[in-house]
Subunit: 340 residues, 2 copies
Amino acid sequence: MTVTIKDVAKRAGVSPSTVSRVISNHPRISEETSLRVRKVMDEIGYHPNMMAKSLVSRTTSTIAVILPRPADELFQNLFFSEVIRGIVTQSTRSGYDLLMATGTTEREELETVTRLVRGRRVDGILLLYSRANDPVIAMLKEADFPFAIIGRNEDYPDILTIDNDNVQASYDATRHLISQGHERIGFVSGPPNLIVSRDRLAGYTKAVREARLPVRSDWIVEGEFLQESGYRAMSLLMGLPERPTALVVVDDVVTFGILCGLVELGYSVPKDIALVSFNNIVFSELATPPISSIDIGIYQLGYTASQELIRFIQHEHPSHALRHIIPHRLVVRESSLRRS
Amino acid sequence: MTVTIKDVAKRAGVSPSTVSRVISNHPRISEETSLRVRKVMDEIGYHPNMMAKSLVSRTTSTIAVILPRPADELFQNLFFSEVIRGIVTQSTRSGYDLLMATGTTEREELETVTRLVRGRRVDGILLLYSRANDPVIAMLKEADFPFAIIGRNEDYPDILTIDNDNVQASYDATRHLISQGHERIGFVSGPPNLIVSRDRLAGYTKAVREARLPVRSDWIVEGEFLQESGYRAMSLLMGLPERPTALVVVDDVVTFGILCGLVELGYSVPKDIALVSFNNIVFSELATPPISSIDIGIYQLGYTASQELIRFIQHEHPSHALRHIIPHRLVVRESSLRRS
DNA sequence: CTGAAAGCGCTTACAG
DNA sequence: CTGAAAGCGCTTACAG
């Protein structure tokens, strides 16, 4: 039924070895033979069996991206499609297929990745999350298998990472509020165990300190990457006897929650409270008022991650850097402008 | 280096055939042997080579999902992550891996799918879009390869499809506006070549006709699934000498554009114009005012599509239905409520 | 420049 | 219940 290399060989009057060499553009094959073989391949509709090729070559031309478990980091949904689009675009361009995998529990996740790695199912792994003490990362290191992570990881200094400079980004956001004349600036953070939360908090603190403004612990609220979290943070902050006049918010979705709450309570943005946020998702622009946000280059993050992972796979010993920083950019909109 | 079935066999004192049978739970293997072999597998860390297995079994335990090209149907981004999550959850649960592929041009798209199909890279294909006269579908039919499409396709009656009843959904949305006392209802549509646009228009028309209200062509505007489109539609409609008092809008993102435009021009929703939309994306709830929307069960769409495709793959001749309808549900919010 | 042969790691009739 | 053998479709030294 299926057309194999043998069928091509027979029809072209050569050996299977020769056909194989034609396919892989072996240099020592005559132009003439090559042309004849290619013609036959077209005629009888030959397509190489990827599985057979993989088995003998020990490569798969496939990378796997591991999604965060639904339970955690649901916020990823927001940039999920953008990162994936970046990854799939670049991997396709490099001739690699993309496998998506996930697990519902930590154990399942580890099992899945182990199966892919040990079963030689893929050539590299891309982790779409960054947790501390991750057994998956430990396993990948142990197996000496090519992988990259989007985000930063403090446990290992020598792994391939693609990330933003979140400290600097948050510093920039805070500086912007200061330049608008704010002196009482709060910070609404995400889960404290995530590195991204910590980095953004650090940048905020740095900017506030530098400007000799107060860093007050009651103006720093932790939560999840959910709108409900924003709502709660807002209630807390607005209930204080001394309130901030501006907030740096760790994620656009959280800002949405804050905004809704403020509107409900009859406050006005940016007059009563100014907001700057992160990620610059499409809807930041569509909010009322439009939200100022740090664009972190989500697509770029995915594109670069795929590129660097594949580069790593192809040159056994990577000569280039392990840590890659995607530039960010503050997009100023109405939510942070001081009305004069 | 890698542990193979032979290593296990040697260590367990059996033949490779026996090990293979243990792995596949062959019934005629003694409990004792099975246990011994499994123990050895654990001890030396055996993981089956998926490629070798695929080569001989002619199955891959993998399905591919084909993304719409960036150029078209960008709106898919919005439900993209939800559909994918549904698909990946279900396929993982069924023991299938998920491959993602796409192409930048129609030709590239066809080539990619052909390579996957003819190269026996996957066991089934899931198309995430529904176009008329699609050469990819023609090829899949011709090759008699298992595939399913999310959406409806009129070219072939006998293919596996997973869709909403968009006519009914739109009918329901329109009825809701009528029940709120509206008699002048317009429709903002998507690209006319997409079946989803046509179906939703049909449902709207049906409801309006049935209520003996006017169906006016100047109240029906076509566009893209983009906010800019909504903005433009709004300008057009509000510039009419006789304006509608309510709109059914084909997609939430378009509604965002409409809403922004209305706010800019000083109109109020729902007082001046009521809105009902489709998809019920997270941000519908967060808009000011919150947008009434038809929840089309995006996750469910993906979950069911994966389930039916895999079922199809596993039973050569499917005894069950080919067309699957995911139920929808109107979520009423402020944007469509008539203030009394 | 090309071919015959061995082998990648598994499965599966066939035979016992 | 288990083993020896053939084979899935390819690649790649080795030899010429």
